[in-house]
């Protein structure tokens, strides 16, 4: 029984090595051909951005978000899907789902430099607000903050909201 098991294990390891080699080749080939991931045309590649402090935009609490909202110097960016945005969003917020970042980034660069961009998504359970802000930061836009409490906290604090017609 031990000998058969050893034979099967050796076979399994050989098969696993074959699969690993093919997967590695396919992975790098696909990335190179589609210019994604490590061969991404963005520099640095978006996947190298993490939420380390100091490297990325600041996270703000609800009080500061409210203050910036009231002062009129902020543009809130809702990074959720369109149907979530339409159902309800921070008053005056624009909807740019994370997946549309590349398509819409140019429009953001046209915004006046004195405006603070504040990203948010549902709340602490989602990270699209962080990733969106990191990507903004990497394109050279530094006046970015992240309202991590997001839609949930804004709504439960009964702050100004609105909905959109489809």
């Amino acid at each position: 029984m031990g000998e058969t098991a050893a034979k099967w294990l050796r076979l399994a390891i050989r098969e696993a090595l074959l699969i690993s080699v093919v997967a590695t080749i396919l992975g790098f080939a696909y990335a190179a051909l589609s210019q994604k991931g490590i061969f991404s045309v963005h520099s640095p590649s978006p996947m190298l951005l993490t939420s380390d402090a100091g490297l990325s935009p600041e996270m703000i609490q609800i009080e500061e978000a409210q203050e910036l909202f009231g002062s009129g110097t902020a543009v809130f960016i809702d990074t959720r899907e369109e149907w979530d945005y339409r159902a309800g969003h921070i008053k005056g917020a624009v909807n740019i789902p994370l997946v549309e970042f590349d398509a819409r980034i140019d429009s953001l660069k046209d915004l006046p430099g004195d405006k603070v961009l504040i990203t948010y998504c549902d709340g602490t359970e989602c990270s699209s607000s962080i990733e969106f802000a990191n990507r903004l930061y990497s394109t050279g836009i530094s006046n970015v903050k992240i309202f991590f409490g997001g839609w949930e906290e804004w709504k439960s604090s009964q702050l100004p909201v609105e909905t959109s017609a489809p």
């Binding site: 399994a12 699969i19 994604k36 359970e125 699209s128």
Partner: protein
């Protein structure tokens, strides 16, 4: 006496079940599809998957592109291999290893209090966060992969079919 024969009966029943070709096929479809479907979104968007990996705070940033590029393809190939029953023991071994590593990563993130999305089946940042549910799910998949590692691909498989066509010996020309 009675207890002894009952437990022997249970073990025998289990062994019969594992050798049942339809049971093996069912396990292969379950595990194979899970990995094929889970890999697709990560293949299409390696940047987002790289971000999911970075959330776990395990790797230094510069190394993340490597697993982000290779891992989804490993999952896809293993999933297909398990589904069709080719190189089954190799892919089951890889899947078992990956699941152990993933589960340890999830547990480690939970211990450090990281409230992050799993990045298991989808890159969507709004998807389910990590937690004991994920651990249970991974453990179930791990058990399935270990059962398949033990049982082999069974007769309802591509490898068995090829073996019958070309004569005895494994499909692997090594």
């Amino acid at each position: 006496m009675e207890v002894q024969s009952a437990s022997c009966g249970n073990v025998r029943a289990m062994k019969t079940l594992i050798r049942n070709r339809y049971f093996i096929l069912a396990l292969r479809v379950l595990l194979g599809l899970a990995f094929v479907v889970g890999s697709l979104e990560k293949i299409v968007d390696p940047d987002a998957f790289g971000f999911s990996i970075s959330n776990y705070r395990i790797f230094p940033a510069f190394i993340i592109p490597v697993p982000a590029t290779i891992l989804p393809w490993m999952e896809l190939l293993c999933g297909l291999s398990i589904l069709f029953g080719v190189l089954l023991r190799g892919s089951s071994l890889m899947v078992a290893t990956m699941l152990v590593v993933f589960t340890l990563a999830v547990l480690s993130a939970m211990l450090r209090g990281l409230d992050i999305t799993c990045g298991c089946f989808t890159n969507d940042p709004a998807a389910a966060a990590i937690g004991w549910g994920k651990v249970a799910e991974n453990t179930g998949l791990l058990c399935t992969s270990l059962l398949l590692l033990y049982s082999g691909e069974g007769p309802l498989s591509l490898e068995h079919y090829l073996r019958r066509r070309t004569g005895e010996g494994t499909a692997l020309p090594m």
